[in-house]
Subunit: 349 residues, 2 copies
């Protein structure tokens, strides 16, 4: 590991000068040819600053704490972490990840992060829900991911549930469906209430009647299949907006049982909660992609811009971006989700 001292010796200047130059604070303080020599030496010697040593003086570590509550076993997390990491790397930050089991040791992990001197925190939940922000996080730079703070006042990012419901339903409307069902969740979470609102609004905007019998909320597994089965049996929907891909599976199953095919006899749009469904299991499922990656990315950008007190300007790698909100906003912001077209929607216009 090359140190500033070594560069100083080699260049015949003092470490202070090296420090100034290498931190880009040499404008009008160091003669430009000296600066050049220093930079050259640093380059050839492969100098890389030691962030830990630096932090001892500055008490800034360029490390970010990522606190999440991956309850036991969750498949959702990936994208968020990925997005956060990409942003962190672009901005020269490192992510320390910690998971709190919520009930016990909620602050243990946070305290550890603090000892390691992280510059700020992200608190992420693995599905969109309302949380009590741990008190140990109050006062520190903090951004919420996929979570609403019960007491408000904390910047954060969540999917735009309303538009998920709206766009999905709209897609079915555009395809010419005339009896569009919503297969929702029985949990009272923002995702359910928001998506359902979007569903109803889309119907309304399309001048289609809202039929409460087509608006179901299911739970469990066998019961859910039974409910969907009975929905099909009695009311013959020709389009289904499904709370998530698991719910969509019920429709696939029931359709298969009665000799119908999704994309031919019925149309289905589902929220791609588990991601894998759209990729491996049911490529034929038209999905609304949750913006996990984008949320992670946005969170880091926002956090860093607060830490450094300046706007940051990096963009996620192309192709992964759904619809990024502006950075740096206060309060919670919602990302619009992308509709990913597959062929599970029959066109009958």
């Amino acid at each position: 590991m090359t140190t500033m001292k070594e560069i100083a010796r080699k260049t015949g200047v003092s470490t202070s000068t090296v420090s100034l130059v290498l931190n880009g604070r040499d404008r009008g303080r160091v003669k430009s040819d000296i600066a050049k020599r220093v930079r050259a030496a640093a380059e050839t010697m492969g100098y890389r600053p030691n962030p830990l040593a630096r932090s001892l003086r500055t008490s800034r570590t360029r490390m970010l704490g990522f606190v999440s509550d991956e309850i036991a076993t969750t498949p959702y997390a990936g994208g968020i972490i990925l997005g956060a990491q990409d942003a962190a790397r672009s901005l020269g930050y490192m992510m320390l990840t910690v998971n709190t089991d919520e009930r016990f040791d909620e602050d243990g992990g946070i305290a550890a992060l603090e000892r390691y001197g992280v510059d700020g925190f992200m608190y992420a939940t693995m599905y969109h829900r309302t949380v009590d922000v741990p008190r140990s996080l109050c006062g520190r730079p903090l951004v919420l991911v996929d979570a609403d703070a019960r007491n408000g006042g904390v910047p954060g990012i969540v999917p735009d549930e309303f538009h998920i419901g709206y766009d999905a339903t709209r897609r079915l409307v555009d395809a010419g469906c005339s009896r569009i069902a919503y297969v929702g969740s029985r949990d009272r979470i923002p995702a359910q209430t928001g998506r359902r609102k979007g569903y109803r609004q889309a119907l309304d905007d399309a001048g289609m009647p809202y039929d409460p019998r087509l608006d179901v909320a299911v739970t469990g597994n066998q019961p859910a299949v039974d409910d969907v089965d009975s929905l099909m049996e009695r009311f013959h929907p020709d389009g289904f907006f499904c709370f998530n891909d698991a719910h969509a599976w019920y429709v696939y199953e029931c359709a298969a049982r009665r000799g119908m095919r999704v994309g031919r006899d019925v149309s289905v749009v589902g929220v791609d909660n588990h991601r894998v469904f759209a990729q491996t299991l049911a490529p034929r499922l038209t999905t609304v992609a949750l913006p996990h990656y984008e949320m992670g990315f946005w969170a880091v950008c926002t956090l860093v811009s607060r830490i450094e007190g300046v706007a940051v300007d990096v963009r996620p790698s192309a192709g992964l971006v759904a619809d990024m909100p502006q950075f740096g906003g206060d309060g919670t912001v919602a990302v619009r989700c992308a509709l990913v077209e597959k062929d599970s929607v029959a066109h009958r216009s």
Copy 2:
């Protein structure tokens, strides 16, 4: 933040003494009542060591680098990270996570980790496969997770693919199935070859004939469904061992189409690759649980024991453990996977 200096001042001793005491190296070097006073002061003042400052002297950070290749968007990762984190916390380590996009910037992230002074590395792939270990990792303490090193010589942990196939098939044999099919993958990866071997061995041990027509490898989506459909149509298997849960879905779909029910008319055992399937989608699916959590946990334990040169002894939190291998071994080790019983196996003995 309380520092040693403050404790020293308050206690009327030198910081060296404080350091000795607080690091537990005071046996026979510091009078026990002084030690007691120091410890008491540390306690009441809420002293917590500053790991960064310490690392400047010791060049040991108690930070571990977790390098993974979450290709764009993977649902598998969660468990590994979770297990690794739990182990790390028990052992007083912190995890820095970084993802390498493999093609570009493979070493960028690793170099960053190195600058931050991690004590060791984990290199994890998000499905069991053979990898070239990045050269930048050579010579450093390193443990592979869910990966085989192409050139060998690196300790690591992978699932016991053979036993996955063996146990799953055995389960179907025990249930009285007489025509057991294997719905495999067309990828030539350890998971496929290993599981298939286990399948054949289990048949053999049960004295059942191996029928190559029941041993299929599918790919794609529609083609896969078609293949399974034709398998059912022509050879009427009564038991299916499926490469993973996505493959199992094909069986569900085809069964539904012909009015058959899994768990009644046919039996299915699948590998729970995506985890979510077993939980949400198909609780009726009897699954072999991949030991992601366990692998992460084991990896950290092994890594730490190599770093510190001593055996570590922590156990994962109960209820999550399939079958942990012993710690500290050299070379790659395989974890036996747990079979999770659901009711997708019909008993017809």
